[in-house]
Amino acid sequence: NAGVTQTPKFRILKIGQSMTLQCTQDMNHNYMYWYRQDPGMGLKLIYYSVGAGITDKGEVPNGYNVSRSTTEDFPLRLELAAPSQTSVYFCASSYAGASDTQYFGPGTRLTVL
């Protein structure tokens, strides 16, 4: 049982490039989340999903897109990378929603130059 896994661990992008951050969980959790954490700041919710085929915006969705075609996977896509998207990205999952705790992946550190 690997829990929540994320790839890559590190990535450097040039302005305007695109990339997909991968997130997979093997706990059969319905809910999945993407957060970003800027230096010295708390986590901010980007997007979340309550189940396969259903996604919704969080606090800071601009510049990102997500999809949830399976229960296990919840990729986050950056279409036109900007320096403001330099951050550490965490994926998380929970079995239920509001009543349940979230389990986090190890994070992806992204730098946009």
Binding site: M41, G42, L43, L45, D56, G97, A98, Q102, Y103, F104
Partner: protein, 113 residues
Amino acid sequence: EDKVVQSPLSLVVHEGDTVTLNCSYEVTNFRSLLWYKQEKKAPTFLFMLTSSGIEKKSGRLSSILDKKELFSILNITATQTGDSAVYLCAVRDYGGSQGNLIFGKGTKLSVKP
């Protein structure tokens, strides 16, 4: 606007000391409060609190919630160098089908030998 405020932002203590970390919140529809420990990478879950006055305890860590005064504290007794980390407080509200999780900026705890 919903917000979670943690204090202090950073703290340096010596091994064996007892520390108290504070978390105050303002949310429209409070559901639960969670504490996480974040070392180098992903946050790891510590406690979830939903009821006032009921202490949650795990080893040397304990936490309690006051829903009237809108705050929680996290206590760590007999601190060890392994307790050095950023401690995150997050509050979940009833907003949306999954309940939004609003994070504070964290308290950085450094425990010196």
